[in-house]
Amino acid sequence: MRLTAIILGLAITGLATAAVAQTAADGQAAVTGSVSNVCVLGAPSPAAINLGQLSSTSGPRAGKLSTIADQTVNLPSSWCNFGGTRLSISSTALLAADTSTPPPGFTRAVNFNSSVTTWGSPNAQVTTNAAANGSSATANGDSGVQADPRAASLSLQLSQFSAPGDGFLVTGAYAGSVTITLGPE
């Protein structure tokens, strides 16, 4: 009788072990990656602007800067994938290829305003302030900070063309430039 009790006890122990021993298991593979800070400016369209004849050829303003229409350059598909960016403009006035100092009343420079919309607040804009002899031809302007990542088609507008002292333009070819930079503030 006592032996029977012991055997029964063993059987119960075995059953109890089977009932509690189901064990699940979890494994995990972590996955990591990164994305670098990138800014891209779309290719300017048009890439170059030819203003043609700059001075009036007849009338009361003959020899002086004629009225030049505003010019627009598009930079489509421009973007930065991070916040805290700024757009900067560096503009150089149109200067005559002839670097000689012009006589009084004449000028070899044509100034203009450059502005780019829709990036930061305020927009980036700058007006060149070259002297008649072409000195101090380059000017820079920055936008406000663009806080968030942004993708946009930018528009550069050139306007307010003027000659220092409204002087007579010396003859020859003129060239200027606008450089736009998109990057961290």
Partner: protein, 177 residues
């Protein structure tokens, strides 16, 4: 202690009996059991993808697709199952909703493959759908569990916002449903 000694004495008497009378036998049955069990021998891994964006700033899916790591585990029950739950790569640096045209999430499908003696058994899950994928019966096995990523995509196909991205793949071995 006293009880055990009593039982031992009874057995000794039975053993000595053949010399004096008819044979009799006492039997002690011995039973045991093995519970259904699954364990990982290697329960963690790391898949480092590096730069996720490609030309144009969108996801370079080729960086994710085919990336892999290996766990190792076993189950001792014929009904054991394996499930996978994929958790998307999330930008952990950028706070807030992404601006229009940008993304902070990279979804993917994770496939885990164990190799029982009967041949490979796989389970998978897409991070684009909440919860784990359907379980697959792996039965009794002890093998590597290969985890492979595929079908990487961002929800809107936009550009990825800069920063660090983290996700994971959970593999669960269950002894029985």
């Amino acid at each position: 202690m006293r009880v055990i000694l009593g039982a031992g004495a009874a057995l000794a008497l039975i053993g000595a009996a053949p010399l004096a009378a008819a044979q009799t036998t006492g039997t002690v049955d011995i039973t045991g059991s093995v519970g259904e069990r699954c364990e990982f021998t290697i329960d963690s891994g790391l898949i480092t993808l590096g730069e996720l964006s490609g030309t144009g700033g969108a996801l370079d899916a080729a960086v994710v697709n085919g990336a892999s790591d290996t766990l190792n585990g076993w189950c001792n029950g014929t009904a054991a199952e394996m499930t996978v739950e994929a958790h998307a790569l999330q930008n952990i640096t950028y706070v807030g909703a992404p601006p229009a045209g940008f993304e902070t999430v990279v979804n993917f499908t994770a496939t885990a493959t164990a190799t029982p003696s009967g041949g490979p058994v796989s389970a998978n899950d897409s991070s684009a759908v909440a919860g784990a994928g359907a379980p697959s019966v792996v039965g009794v096995f002890s093998s590597d569990i290969d985890v492979v990523l595929s079908a990487a995509a961002t929800p809107g196909g936009g550009k990825l916002i800069a920063g660090s991205y983290e996700g994971s793949v959970d593999v669960t071995l269950t002894p029985s449903p």
